[in-house]
Symmetry: C2
Subunit: 455 residues, 2 copies
């Protein structure tokens, strides 16, 4: 790239917006996937407006320069890993949030954090439900790009269920406006939904219109331990046949022990699985739902079953679940899996993961959004040991192949990014891959949008 061309970029977007400083750019090369293959970009554009994004993409299109869109950089699949000689377009500075309480929508810029959107909605007694575990540090733009999930999805759905409209800068720099403040809208193709979860491969999202709902009522919590994952999974099926818990998480025996090592909260180290469930049904219905959950756990031979209406006490157990990630991280480097299956197949999936762990001589504790069949096997390895690293990466692939063999998915909520790209054709097959490429090529004929990710 000639320096004259880079000057064009700086002139088009503004010197305060573009940086080519290697030290600064290094902070924009990786996301939480820590992909060692990350490239060194030509420049990082820290856009403050949609016009900045348009100008940068127009420049990239003219010079056939790859564009990697980036939110908060908390992605777990390498979707915003920088590529050599590419442009990183960061939306971290685009953080405006406005709430229309009467229409119950939030109009947000992509750099706003999920937690900031929740807080802005809460000021009006409203709630934006999607809640990735990383909600305090992840951006709405990244949530939209990956169709992020979370803990309350089992009752409240995922990101796409809350998206009423999007502004997107296309690969030629055109800004398109999709949807609007209207809850039901079937006019034309479902383009808004196509862009949600497209991981920056079709365009750069510069604004979202998000549906809000009334604030969540108080929650009651049930914690139950089981001898094995199978009984716990059957309890999940039994509960979800009757009620809609607002949270339904599972930890396997290894996760329980690792969290107990970390938190010392007297968890049952002999349990094969633990369920953490919540009901947020209003008024007296909460106790009714919890009693149904208790009955199901008893019928399935739960070892212990503890119930609390006290939000703080309940939060202790949710915190134990959330602590799984930092607790596991203390034991080594991590490859964080995100495979999903039909809920009744959870025992097969988790048993299979245990076998893969054994065969590869590594630990893979599993936590799961059990009510959705979405699991996070955490592959622990020693990054300083090439053999351990190779076994971990082997296990990572084997877990995805296991999920595929069970009719499941290679990613429930984190996205394909770059880490799972090679497994996508195994999941989708040649016809769906061909169809995906047709759409990609129609919208981004020069392939400049996030090349190397997803497709």
């Amino acid at each position: 790239m000639s320096s004259a061309a880079l000057d064009d970029l700086i002139n088009a977007v503004g010197p305060d917006v573009v940086t080519c400083d290697a030290v600064v750019m290094d902070r924009y090369r990786y996301d939480w996937a820590h992909d060692e293959r990350a490239g060194m970009p030509l420049a990082v554009v820290r856009a403050e407006t949609a016009e900045h994004v348009q100008a940068a993409v127009r420049w990239a299109a003219e010079h056939r320069v790859p564009v990697v869109p980036r939110g908060a950089g908390s992605g777990l699949s390498g979707g915003s890993t920088a590529v050599d000689h590419g442009l990183v377009i960061s939306t971290e500075r685009m953080r405006a949030i406005s709430i229309d309480p009467a229409a119950r929508v939030a109009i947000v810029e992509p750099g706003a954090l999920n937690a900031e959107v929740k807080a802005a909605a809460a000021e009006h007694g409203l709630w934006y439900p999607p809640d990735p575990s990383s909600y305090e540090i992840c951006s709405i733009g990244g949530n939209l790009a990956t169709n992020a999930g979370g803990l309350c999805c089992v009752k409240y759905g995922v990101t796409t269920d809350y998206v009423l409209g999007l502004d997107v800068v296309m690969a030629d720099g055109t800004l398109i406006k999709l949807g609007g403040i209207r809850v039901k809208d079937v006019a034309g193709l479902s383009l808004t939904k196509l862009f949600v979860g497209s991981e920056g491969t079709l365009g750069v999202i510069t604004r979202g219109i998000l549906k809000l709902v009334p604030k969540q009522p108080d929650k009651a919590t049930l914690v139950a331990t089981f001898a094995d994952v199978e009984a716990a999974a059957r309890a999940v099926v039994g509960m979800c046949a009757q009620i809609r818990p607002s949270m339904l998480e599972l930890m396997d025996g290894l996760s329980i022990n690792i969290v107990e090592d970390y938190l010392h909260m007297d968890l049952d180290r002999t349990a094969g699985a633990m369920l953490i469930a919540q009901s947020d049904a209003p008024g007296g219905a909460r106790a009714l739902e919890i009693s149904i959950m208790e009955k199901v756990c008893a019928e399935l031979g739960a070892k212990e079953c503890f119930v609390t209406e006290d939000p703080d006490e309940g939060e202790l157990f949710v915190a134990a679940r959330r602590a799984a990630f930092p607790a596991i991280e203390r034991r080594g480097s991590l490859l964080l899996e995100d495979v999903g299956v039909a809920v009744p197949l959870l025992p097969e999936l988790i048993d299979g993961v245990a076998k893969i762990a054994q065969q590869n001589g590594i630990e893979i504790p599993v936590v799961a959004h059990a009510g959705d069949g979405n699991t996070h096997p955490n592959i622990i390895y020693d990054a300083s040991d090439p053999d351990s690293r190779a076994r971990a990466h082997g296990a990572f692939d084997q877990v995805m192949q296991l999920a595929i063999s069970l009719g499941g998915t290679i990613t429930g909520e984190h996205g394909v990014g770059r880490l799972k790209k090679d497994a996508l054709p195994d999941l989708l097959g040649p016809d769906v891959m061909a169809l995906s490429h047709k759409i990609k090529n129609a919208l981004d004929p020069d392939g400049i949008m996030n090349p190397g990710a997803v497709l």
Copy 2:
């Protein structure tokens, strides 16, 4: 078309599946839009399997023959109006439904009626929520093709929110399988969602995998009358800021009078608007939610407010709302509108519709899924009077332009079909139209799938 070519079709698909009988084919020319411009097809394929659909589409692709996919023919926008020299592919014979109660999914063929899917789910204590008013006669295939809504959408969402997977026959006859039995899945582009609501313009849906939820709890009903639409709309905003009603319907004064003429159930003829709301919160929470609704209605000066926990008594009022369509139909021919706006703009929309009615010298009673801002202005005209017809069609277009001017949509749940095609560019603008055409052309380069509909 040569008779040899038609023989090829009959040989490929089977003589019991294809008909070229003009009398039989006449039944497949129209949907409920009764579009007088309907063409006469070459043949109707009453497919029994996905292979029949594939063989028919392959034949159509080879001969560049237009394909109009058709479910139960209950569409209201002319999406399955036949075209001259085209092929109608009816899925009415593909009606298999299988329920997996543990995974809580229904696997359905497109000809199955919505009511049949609901009934099959209910046998396992489960529920498929989307409930178009026509649920007893509309097919799931049509629901998927239009992303159909209904009365419970205000709390439970629309069709797309329940679609986990689709089988689709593409324009070249390839059968692709999207998604699967997995609640959360972000692997690759959101293709499943792209086909939902595509109105047969991208392919023919031959199977759906639908998410089910536990059966709906009992409902309590509130009926409140207001002096004007504005107060009723403000009550809708007030309720939805605090709770999530499971139904929230509005009838304007004219609709109330027309239904009262029809049912003689002592509705208040002086009311400017009536709300019919339900809560299905479990246990004691139902009464809590109803009391919140009552309080909001009182604050907004409701003329009358009636509450019942008796499901049969509640159903009387829901029946009054559902009777609006037959009651109105007695007064003449109908053009059924489906425009939507942000909920706080309902008064502007309904006032504007009243003005359009007055200017054109016709009656346009309005019923609305008020909680979603989705309204059905019913344009009544005399089909035997060309002038009345012209005024009705003029009003139809004016109502869409009004919705667009308020930032709304020209169709909330019925689809664009052929009746609203001309207004779509006014809503979407040239860039989104161009993007839509890019996707259409990428997937159906010869333009054989439902030509003349939507795009």
